[in-house]
């Protein structure tokens, strides 16, 4: 009998530890020293709460059972006791002091962004992240890669539904990576649970955070501050690679981006065919514009204007190029000049001028866009 109780207790304890480590119902320990400390703090404060809860609810339950009127309990007369009241003010206070000390230590470590090995500028905008390696010529946008058909329940949902991007951020393991975090429009928040890093991206200000990842791997998070319509659809994906592999990746990426810029110059001398422009344009439109102007070009009345049948998209070509390249300041229409290549800009503008019955029959070429950018 006694043995049975003992095994039962052990089993409950063991299972409660197992439960605590399940990442579908508990915080994850993550892959950095800091995230492990944070997990430790979380479990400590949790257990403190459990103990206080057991004592308080236990006393309450006892009274509820044994001091029942139906059991004939007669009410006692006491209604104050300075000693008891002082005690239950002081004791919780001391417990909290005990909790505050390790919390403060971890906090100080988390806010120490000095002596970083790598610095990445992270910029949020509606609804994508932009990463720029401060010491290299590498920068790119990172957009959610889940197909709209999955969201609309037309295709089966993939394993990393809503948590996958076209171009993840890559960082080295074992090195201190500093993030400078800001925004181009509203407030976003860059969050990777496995690093215990969550920092708001405030427009016009730069926040700092850092991490030092111990394990290579793919880590996923999401934007954590309401940033408008597609707030739920701007994931963060970070790949941590061994330093050597990271260096190789960085060099390749740098070369690739350089080459792309050269190709761009060549493009200025060529004319692209309507079909090709429409194909590329459709893809660009789906990934960069459809979130606001909607896949059917009809926009959201009162929020995002329709491009289908819009005067600008049918008539004034210069204005059209201008708006797409420079955006409309004071609105959520961003300047896409920095975000897309000349070819993509030309293609998407052509697409908008010919899709959904906007049949202008006109093409826009990379050189037209370039002319507007360079001002001639």
């Amino acid at each position: 009998m006694g043995k049975g109780v003992l095994t039962a207790i052990c089993a409950t304890l063991a299972s409660s530890v197992a439960v605590a480590e399940r990442s579908d119902i508990n915080l994850r320990q993550g892959v950095t020293d800091i995230s492990e400390q944070v997990y430790g703090l979380h479990m400590t404060i949790f257990y403190i709460c459990v103990v206080i809860g057991v004592v308080v609810f236990g006393a309450m339950l006892y009274a509820m059972i044994f001091h029942r009127k139906s059991k004939g309990a007669k009410p006692a007369n006491f209604h104050e006791s300075v000693k008891v009241e002082v005690a239950w003010t002081i004791v919780p206070f001391l417990i909290l002091v005990g909790m505050a000390i390790p919390a403060a230590k971890t906090l100080i470590a988390m806010e120490d962004t000095s002596e970083a090995d790598v610095t990445v500028l992270v910029t949020g905008s509606q609804w994508k992240w932009h990463y720029k390696y401060m010491d290299h010529d590498v920068d790119f946008y990172s957009l959610m890669a889940t197909q709209p058909e999955q969201i609309a329940n037309k295709f089966d949902k993939g394993e990393n539904y809503l948590l996958e991007v076209d171009r993840p951020l890559v960082i080295p393991t074992g090195q201190k990576v500093r993030f400078l975090i800001t925004s181009d429009d509203v407030i976003h928040s860059w969050w990777v649970p496995d690093f215990a890093v969550k920092k708001d991206a405030n427009p016009g200000f730069i926040n700092e955070a850092w991490t030092k990842v111990n394990e290579p791997g793919i880590y996923r998070g999401q934007c954590a501050e309401l940033c408008g319509k597609d707030h739920g659809f701007m994931p963060v994906v970070v790949i941590a690679k061994e330093p050597a592999e990271y260096q190789r990746w960085l060099a390749e990426e740098e070369a690739k981006q350089l080459k792309a810029k050269e190709e761009e110059q060549k493009l200025l001398a060529m004319n692209m065919e309507m079909d090709e422009l429409m194909d590329v344009g459709k893809q660009v439109y789906q990934s960069a514009c459809a979130a606001c102007h909607m896949p059917n070009g009809e926009g959201l009345p009162g929020v995002f204007p329709a491009l289908k049948g819009s005067d600008i998209a049918i008539n004034d070509m210069q204005k059209h190029i201008d708006i797409v390249v420079n955006g409309v300041s004071g609105t959520s229409m961003q300047a896409f000049g920095k975000q897309l290549s000349l070819k993509e800009l030309a293609a998407v503008i052509t697409y908008e001028r010919n899709a959904w019955g906007n049949n202008t029959g006109e093409t826009v070429q990379a050189k037209d866009v370039n002319a507007l950018i360079t001002g001639n």
């Binding site: 400390q37 309450m60 001091h67 309990a73 006491f78 919780p92 215990a196 009162g302």
Partner: protein, 529 residues
Amino acid sequence: MSSVADDLHHDEHHDHKPAGIMRWLLTTNHKDIGTLYLWFAFIMFLVGGAMAMVIRAELFQPGLQIVEPNFFNQMTTVHGLIMVFGAVMPAFTGLANWMVPLMIGAPDMALPRMNNWSFWILPGAFLILLASLFLEGGGPNFGWTFYAPLSTTYSNDSTALFVFSVHIMGISSIMGAINVIVTIFNMRAPGMTWMKMPMFVWTWLITAFLLIAVMPVLAGAVTMVLTDKYFGTSFFDAAGGGDPVLFQHIFWFFGHPEVYIMILPAFGIISHIVPTFSRKKLFGYSSMVYATASIALLSFIVWAHHMFTTGMPLFAEMFFMFATMLISVPTGVKVFNWVATMWRGSISYEMPMMFALAFIVLFTIGGFSGLMLAITPVDFQYHDTYFVVAHFHYVLVTGAVFSIMAAVYYWLPKWCGKMYDQTLAQWHFWCSLISVNLLFFPMHFVGLAGMPRRIPDYALQFADFNKWISIGGFAFGLSQLIFLALIIKASRKIGEPATAQVWDGAEGLEWEVPSPAPYHTFETPPEVK
């Protein structure tokens, strides 16, 4: 305390009041206005609840099924605004209107005409807010916290209506608060000294001061949003020298005291019900008063715990972490006092007590997660996830809303003169209790596992819990219809007649007038010994 029930009979024949709708439009009677507030709050609770049902229906499964993300955001925003400003706050004001004069032996509120106004501008405010949902582009979609610049540069034109309606709600609250303060200061029955005042009166007095202190701050915040959006100022726009984080400081300087505005009167209610059904005096009355006052004071220096991830200086993060941990001490004292009141009492389990007990346990669970959220380094992980949604629903739904329900069960016989229907009450309690936990408890899990709040669609690992959460949500929503039926029944005067005393263990002036309480009470003040 003296018995005044006998003198009251002759009061009844000058119950002159106009018939029909004019009675309600023109009334300056604190009981009528209290009733209006309570009905209004209940209707808003159902409207806000319907929006929660939309949210939960969309989140039942991964993928977008029912609403567009933009509409989803309008639902969360308006749900939050309605529940806070339309349901919980007016319900407490209604209870204050009904009960404060009865508890302090006053014939009415001190400023009856203003009382009429402070109620009757409210429906207008909410009509404007709800109507904005039908504009082209929809209503407010930036969360009830309306952070700039999402609510300024990037919002649609319904923002002007949003600002206008929040202004009206604020004016209404301030008028209500002034009325409570003036009434309590000037109209207490002879002999009712400060430290003899019932706890509900104390907590409401302190709440009223909080309201007067922070509602103007909210008004300032919405006004700055308005001028930033329409008149070219840049309080919150870095390009013009402003700062979006400034908005959050201003908002939460209002917002944190606001959450205590929604819980202090609840503490008062529970401090009446627990002693009544334990047949024992409230343990530590004076420490309850001091704890309430210190919570109110501390509530002004903890606002930035909502903003740990905004990138404050380390020093500020530490300060707000310690201050927030500190505020849990007086809150703990309250809970300990209630348990000590029950200790060696003679407890019985009528419906008000059932809700009060559920309140104590579930509010404390919300308090625990609040304490966890205070630990800054861990808050970085919890912030803006469903863990927070779980936390504030435990304190607001099983806290504030349950206390309001407890209060309704406790005083309904006094208001209507009839006992509520016991069977319906049991059904209401048990259905609510089970469904509310199914609804909000698993939110802790998905939050810890990493599900952000305010998203219309989520990753697959959250799917199972969300299904259960939604089922809990629908069940909780339906359970409230039982409550509606129960209240309608009692207000149609169907049920067992209630005595003046109603509950054998109850103490206080409100139990010395007959049930139902006559239209005019305490025209000659009672004597409190």
